[in-house]
């Protein structure tokens, strides 16, 4: 079932990338911190960078095999790529851009027109066929770039941060449109992103690339519930606090930079360094200091508010970051707080998950 297979060893200066994986049909999200190697991996797959050694194949067709001395140039790989800066040809109009790949492959003019018209219609871009690129909005340009990449029927689609250049509003529209349109193509698609909202929206398979290595892979839920690195936790929007466990007078306390958290004393943890995972939906927010137990309360400033469809995600900062997620209705009941305002956060210790860290 896995159509794209790769095993790549790449080095440039101090930077090293060693990645081996198999990607099935459909969308796979490639996440990781900036400088972690996402763009390098995409460029290596496309043939725009040369690895030290490795293999790449799509559906059994070898694109690269350094042992057998096979190395197809980018033009013979049949890979569609959506560049982060789109790389649309400024001297060609919309249909000229979309037709470029067909023309380069020697497709005759009438067939070319037919295919370009079909894909522009599918992308609801027909009325822009004769427009110059500079006249289009960023979102429209993105559609043209994607149409150009897909019209040649590639065997693999690479998307490099397709939502990064858009503003908040059009980002959601574009995600909805993209997930709908990509259903038509039964090919492996690898989308690099550093935007957590992308993973939350698409909820597809995820590949984490950090420090040039694949650190974790799996479904969105696997990553959400068992993050293996602080980056994944942060990315999935899970709170991942690092701190220390101590047990004064039969109590169990987790001390992090942001303050102390009292835990249920029966947790099976040793004293020493530990991490505490708190799901954002287990954090409740209040305008006024809540009555009752003063334990596990945190008074912090709102860093940002992200609206994820019918959910709202709020990040509070004190010394650590704490992410809370609530329904739109809950957000309205709070009076729609904005970044900069102060809120009280409360979470129950039994809804968190604590683990000792291996000796660091």
């Amino acid at each position: 079932m896995s159509r794209l297979k790769f095993d790549i060893n790449f080095r440039r200066g101090d930077y090293q990338l060693e990645a081996s994986f198999a990607v099935a049909d459909g969308l796979t999200l490639l996440i990781g911190p900036n400088g972690g190697g996402k763009s390098s991996l995409l460029r290596l797959l496309a043939g725009l960078e040369q690895p030290l050694s490795g293999q790449i194949s799509i559906g059994g067709r070898k694109l690269l095999d350094t042992e057998q001395k096979i190395n197809r140039p980018p033009s013979a790989r049949n890979i569609g790529m959506l560049f982060q800066e789109l790389a649309l040809f400024p001297h060609l109009d919309v249909s000229g851009n979309v037709a470029f790949g067909l023309k380069a492959r020697g497709v005759d003019a009438s067939r070319r027109r037919q295919k370009v018209a079909a894909i522009l219609a599918r992308f609801e871009m027909s009325k822009y066929a004769g427009s110059q690129i500079r006249q289009l909005s960023q979102g429209e340009r993105q559609k043209v770039a994607l149409a150009r990449a897909l019209v040649t029927e590639p065997q693999l689609l690479l998307l490099d941060e397709p939502t990064a250049a858009l503003d908040q509003e059009s980002r959601w529209q574009f995600r909805r449109w993209l997930s709908e349109i990509l259903r038509d193509w039964q090919i492996p698609m690898l989308m690099a992103t550093h935007d957590p909202a992308d993973t939350a929206y698409f909820r597809k398979r995820i590949l984490l690339l950090e420090d040039g290595k694949i650190r974790q892979h799996g479904s969105y839920h696997q990553l959400l519930h068992a993050p293996t690195t602080p980056f994944v936790a942060d990315f999935a929007g899970v709170n991942y606090l690092l701190g220390e466990i101590c047990r004064p007078q039969g109590k169990l306390i987790f001390r992090s930079r942001g303050g102390s958290i009292f835990l249920a004393p029966f947790e099976k943890v040793r004293e020493g360094q530990a991490c505490l995972t708190v799901f954002p939906w287990d954090v409740s927010l209040y305008r006024e200091r809540p009555a009752g137990s003063p334990r596990n309360q945190l008074y912090g400033k709102i860093q940002d508010v992200i609206i994820l469809g019918d959910r709202v995600r709020i990040t509070l900062v004190k010394a650590d970051k704490l992410v809370a997620e609530l329904s739109t209705r809950g957000y309205q009941a709070l009076g729609e707080p904005r970044s900069g305002e102060m809120l009280w956060a409360v979470f129950k210790a039994r809804e968190s998950r604590i683990e000792n860290l291996a000796v660091l």
Partner: protein, 274 residues
Amino acid sequence: MNNATTEKRFDTWLFTGFWVGSSLLLGGLLLLPILVLLLHPQPAELLSLLLSRQLLDALRVTLLTSTTSLLLIFLLGLPTAYAVSRFAGRYRFIIDFCLELPMAFPSLIAGIALLLAFGRRGLFGQLLLTWDIRIPFTPLAVILVHIFVLAPFFVRRAAVLFDQIDPQLEEAAQLLGASPFFTFCHVSLPLCHRALLAEAIMIFAQSIGMFGAVILFAGNLPGKTRTLTLAIYDAFESNPEQAFGLATLLLIGSSLLLLTGRLLLRSRRIVGNL
């Protein structure tokens, strides 16, 4: 306080006087001779000169040689410039130095070097003679001078244009299945076509003005190698009035060429990246 203000005002005046004075002096130095040259001949005289045999012959030689050399410079220079821009890497410094050399030395030296290479007793000249080919004192010699002096200049400038193309555009083209040659013809060239056209005009204008190397290597044969510039030189000795008229005509022609080039480059971006 008061003193400081006065001093500052004096400073400003001094500086204003400095740049106004310098630019007026330089401007006068440039414009005065041109104005005198433009106003000197009578329009009727110019018209009769325009239709004279000497001028038409020289014009024919000039247009023939300059157009041919322009075509050859483009044909050979464009791929070379592209190669310099893309593959020179750390040898770029040396290549740029070599390309600037012909601009730095007097064109007379170019003529001597060409004579030594292609002259009757020259290195290749002798070889060519065995096939009964003589280059010196033919229109081909004029063309060779143009190429020798102006092609490096063109390669240097065109390579800078190719440098400015966003490399992602070429990568995108290759991923879409385009061969490097298709990419060159359909992406790289169209992206700088305006700047290249302006470059062509400059080359053309400069080749018309070429003198020292031409007279040395190609001679001054009427109807064969006597270009407009050489015709002016020739007329200057026999009939100065005619030389002034010819110079005026050449000045007008060159100005028009330059103006066209300037207009082509008026859009702010030279290379058409988005």
